[in-house]
């Protein structure tokens, strides 16, 4: 469903008078299946966020192409929605108005978008907080609102950029479980950026390990854990432990080779 074919990307970085070219991604290829939950993991600076932005069409790439159901991506589109690491909730809008924001841009009428936004707030458990402002909510609740905003436009593909990276550990586990439940109900394809091996294995069907800059795909691993996954059981499963250890070794190897 999502074909990432030989994506390369360089940035120009100017320090004083000398401009250096930084290669962020080289020849990244990856094929994502429909309704698959795929995680991309790699050391910081490996270009995983850049890759996500390229898939979203927010930034251009130098070579290669992204195909979604055979159609080439040239900019942001209604088939994709992003959940941001920093939530990116507008502080001057209430939670409800934040969720409506994505619908407003799609020209949905006022009554309709309020109804849709309420519905999704309910699905993420925020129905009682619709009139609150983002800063009145905890980090976990803010990201639930961010998730509701992304789901509200009913995208085929959910692009998640370290969405639980800035919440505390307990909240993180809760959000992971909720996300899995939502994903199973909503039937979405998820591309999930993380630097937590544990998170990647627990959530995903497959885990993509990337090398340090310039980011390449080092390895793509199947997660042999049955669904639905009960967090406590899964984390004690020897297969879970083996796979996280394996990813750790793979990351270490990739980092050593990179230097």
């Amino acid at each position: 469903m999502v074909e990432i074919e030989g994506i390369s990307k360089s940035f120009q970085k100017t320090v004083k008078d000398s401009t250096t070219e930084i290669r962020a991604l080289t020849e990244v290829s990856l094929s994502v299946r429909q309704n698959e939950f795929i995680s991309i993991i790699g050391p910081s600076g490996c270009g995983k966020t850049t890759l996500l932005k390229i898939i979203d069409g927010l930034i251009p790439h130098d070579s290669g192409q992204i195909l979604i159901n055979g159609k080439r991506v040239s900019g942001p589109g209604p088939d994709r929605a992003v959940v941001f690491q920093t939530f990116a909730l507008l502080p001057w809008r209430t939670v409800l108005a934040n969720v409506e924001f994505s619908l407003e841009l799609r020209r949905v009428t006022k009554e309709e978008r309020t109804a849709i936004a309420r519905d999704y707030l309910k699905r993420v458990g925020l129905e009682e907080f619709e009139h609150h402002y983002p800063h009145e909510l905890s980090g976990g609740m803010q990201q639930r609102a961010g998730l509701a905003r992304a789901l509200a436009v009913n995208p085929l593909i959910l692009l998640m950029d370290e969405p639980f990276g800035s919440v505390d550990a307990q909240t993180r586990q809760l959000l992971q479980e909720e996300l899995l439940q939502l994903w199973q109900r909503e039937q979405k394809t998820v591309i999930f950026i993380t630097h937590s091996m544990d998170e990647a294995v627990y959530l995903s069907d497959r885990v993509v390990v990337m090398t340090p800059r310039p980011g390449r795909v080092a390895e793509i691993l199947d997660v042999p854990l049955r669904r639905p996954r009960i967090a406590d059981d899964v984390r004690r499963d020897p297969k879970f432990v083996d796979l996280t250890n394996y990813i750790w070794d793979s990351l270490k190897k990739a980092m050593e080779n990179g230097h």
Partner: protein, 251 residues
């Protein structure tokens, strides 16, 4: 808020009492007791002189300030959005920000004559630059991730400007408007004292030179009250536009 108000009242009352005592014991024309200022104020009020002059001054203030707000915000937004415009203008804006505005009054007389246009121009000049700079800063400080988020959900440039940049910059814009209001009042009085003797400024000059200190202080107190009221008005508008921000500040 309540305890702040109480302390405000205590502060005003104790200053008034001290002033009254000082005025009575010194028995000097330089510091008239507050009661005499009060009766002078009443006299000016009843004769209608204070109100008619005040109306004239406030008209100038409103016109100059209105122009400064509209043009200041527009220029500030343009500078914030287009780097070329910013670099084209920031030299002058920064220079005028720190220059003493009074120095330009003679130029304005030459350009606009001695009429009301000149006074409006002075008020405008006093208030304009601080509004531009704050608007510019507000636009430049908009969190990039908000813009990226909007773009990702399919926002066009116009929508990014109206739904992201403008509301995100609003607290800074309003801070500029608030500062501009204070400067506009200064500009108003300066224009009336330096240009043509009209309005409140004329009353100050007249009573000052004739040692009518009780009336002089009555006028000065009126200016202070006007300044406070206009500031409060701006705050009310600010609160309506950027209440979400104030809530953050209180926490």
């Amino acid at each position: 808020m309540n305890s702040q108000f109480r302390i405000n009242v205590i502060s005003i009352v104790s200053l008034a009492v001290l002033w009254e005592i000082a005025g009575r014991t010194l028995d000097s024309v330089l510091i008239p007791p507050l009661s005499k200022i009060g009766s002078a104020w009443l006299r000016l009020l009843i004769s209608g002189k204070l109100l008619s002059n005040l109306a004239m001054s406030l008209g100038t203030l409103a016109a100059g300030f209105f122009l400064a707000v509209i043009l200041g915000i527009i220029i500030g937004l343009l500078m914030g959005r287009f780097r070329e415009i910013e670099h084209f203008l920031d030299l002058y804006i920064n220079a005028f920000m720190s220059a003493p505005m009074t120095a330009f009054v003679p130029v304005l007389i030459l350009w606009f004559g001695l009429g009301v246009e000149s006074r409006i121009a002075v008020v405008f000049l006093f208030a304009f630059f601080v509004i531009v700079i704050n608007t510019l800063t507000g636009v430049k400080q908009v969190d990039r991730t908000f813009v990226e988020m909007a773009r990702s959900f399919g926002a066009k440039e116009r929508e990014i400007f109206l739904k992201i940049i403008l509301p995100a910059a609003m607290p800074a814009i309003m801070a500029g408007v608030r500062l501009g209001m204070g400067r506009a009042v200064k500009g108003m009085v300066t224009a009336e004292m330096l240009l043509t003797l009209t309005g409140i400024g004329a009353m100050i000059m007249q009573y000052g030179s004739s040692f009518a200190t009780d009336a002089l202080f009555a006028v000065i107190l009126t200016i202070l009250i006007v300044a406070m009221i206009t500031m409060r008005l701006v705050q009310v508008v600010d609160q309506r536009l950027t209440g979400w921000k104030t809530e953050i500040a209180i926490e």
